[in-house]
């Protein structure tokens, strides 16, 4: 049974009725806003840098000596040189993905018995940028960068490949690897960029 609750409209007293006090209060608010500075960014000319945890276009971290321990276990089965993508083709990202068909991952066995990843394509037209693939990656390879301008003129251009993903990963690590994750409300840099957030 739904209980209905009727809320009485607050009655105005005579002075408020006669002099439109509520109107004047509203006019005061808009006047204050009128003389304030604007809060917009002139987008194509000015661009904001998103926080480090922003979920933008995907990238691959490369083999550069900062790998997690899980990678050193798998490394001896893989044919990966330094500076190449550290993907081990475990298909965990595809398993975690809500739209698995957007991944196309292929790996081959070399004559010396090692495994080589030859294809890692993602069709970002189907991607919903949830970040589950990033959480699933066991070797900290697949990441999401702060690049948010993903519009393209052709549909083929929206498919990203292993080469450009590892380039993007190198670029992202060079720019922002040292930066702290801005998820704490008292983080100074976060406050500078986005302002203080009050939690209820």
């Amino acid at each position: 049974m739904v209980k209905l609750k009727y809320v009485e409209r607050p009655k105005l007293n005579l002075i408020e009725k006669l002099f439109f006090l509520d109107f004047i209060k509203g006019l005061k608010v808009t006047f204050k806003n009128l003389i304030k500075r604007t809060v917009t960014t002139k987008y194509p000319y000015e661009k904001l840098t998103p926080p480090k945890r922003f979920r933008g276009t995907h990238a691959h971290r490369v083999k550069d000596g900062n790998e997690p321990p899980s990678f050193s276990v798998l490394e001896k089965f893989m044919d990966i040189n330094t500076g190449e993508s550290r993907c081990v083709a475990c298909y965990m990202c595809q398993q975690a993905c809500p739209v698995p068909s957007l991944f196309r991952i292929e790996a081959i066995q070399l004559p010396n018995g090692k495994k080589k990843v030859v294809r890692f394509d993602m069709n970002l037209l189907n991607c919903l940028y949830c970040g589950l693939c990033v959480d699933a990656c066991p070797v900290d390879c697949l990441i999401m960068t702060d690049i948010y301008e993903t519009a393209k003129y052709q549909r083929e251009k929206c498919v990203i490949h292993m080469d450009d993903m590892s380039e993007r990963g190198k670029d992202f690590d060079r720019r922002r690897l040292k930066e702290p994750d801005r998820i704490w409300i008292d983080d100074q840099e976060r406050i500078k960029l986005w302002g203080q957030i009050k939690w209820s």
Binding site: G26, T30, N33, K36, T40
Partner: protein, 336 residues
Amino acid sequence: MEIISTVVVLVVKSLIFILGMFLAAAYLTLIERKFAGHVQQRPGPLHVGFHGLLQPIADALKVLTKEDLVPNNVDKVLFYLASLMAFVPAIMILAVIPFGDPIKIFGFEIKPYITDINVGLILALAFGSISIYGVIFAGWASNSKYPMIGGLRKAAVLIGYEVALGFAMVGPIMMAGSFSLREIVQAQEGFFGAFIWYQPLAFIVILFAILAETGRTPFDVQEAEAELVSGYNTEYSGMKFGLFPLAEWYIGTFVLSAIAVILFFGGWKGPHIFGAFSPFIWFFLKVFMMFMFFLWVHWTLPRYRVDQITEIAWKVMLPLSLLNIFITAIIIMVKG
């Protein structure tokens, strides 16, 4: 010979007034957009020209070159007529508005008004009432439900507030003893001679009536973007669409602000501190302040419900204006 020269002078004057009003209305759109932007802490148009100064021209070009669609099932004659019926009466009110006293330049006497007839105010009210037809025709001829509802709402609001507006104007007319706008201005001498000090009740009624007549926010039920797509002009496109807001929001507001300034703030009267052109500067300054006040109200207040609006018109504004007439009459009788 006399007649021909009069006709030529009148035609030239009317052309200047109409073209000037068009340009002014175009730039009033820019002022409105800038104002609305800054109220919402965004800068408004910025990229066409310096701080968006050429934006109205770009907008006009865009609206003029757009495809002009006419839906299949509309009443063609009324459909075309409606945009004119909304626009022409609004600009016709300009004919009776004086912008200053006659001045002498190079020996010619130039009168900064088109005509000074002794029923000027009534003519202005009559033109204002005709513009109801534009709205109703647009709503009816579009053969679509949103324009129909919008047109009927606007007609209800306009009929209610025309009455209140007319009665509220009686106060200043009684004090000046004339319907001619020029004589009303001349009846207000000095700073404390302005009728705003004697007729505050009428001024409030007229403020509300102007907001309702020009469809600005507390009373913009005919547009009501959230309910009716765009009100009575939903089916219009191209310049026919552009004429409605131009006539209603800019020319209508400007002209009615001018009338309010003439009735209550002494028109072009003011200290002669700008030289020969000080009457014009005072007049346009006052009208501009009025216009900015309407913008300010527009971008502040939420919308009344349609039944509340007609209720305010008939139950509050009309009795207030009648009371104002009564008080004014008694005071004039007592003072003799």
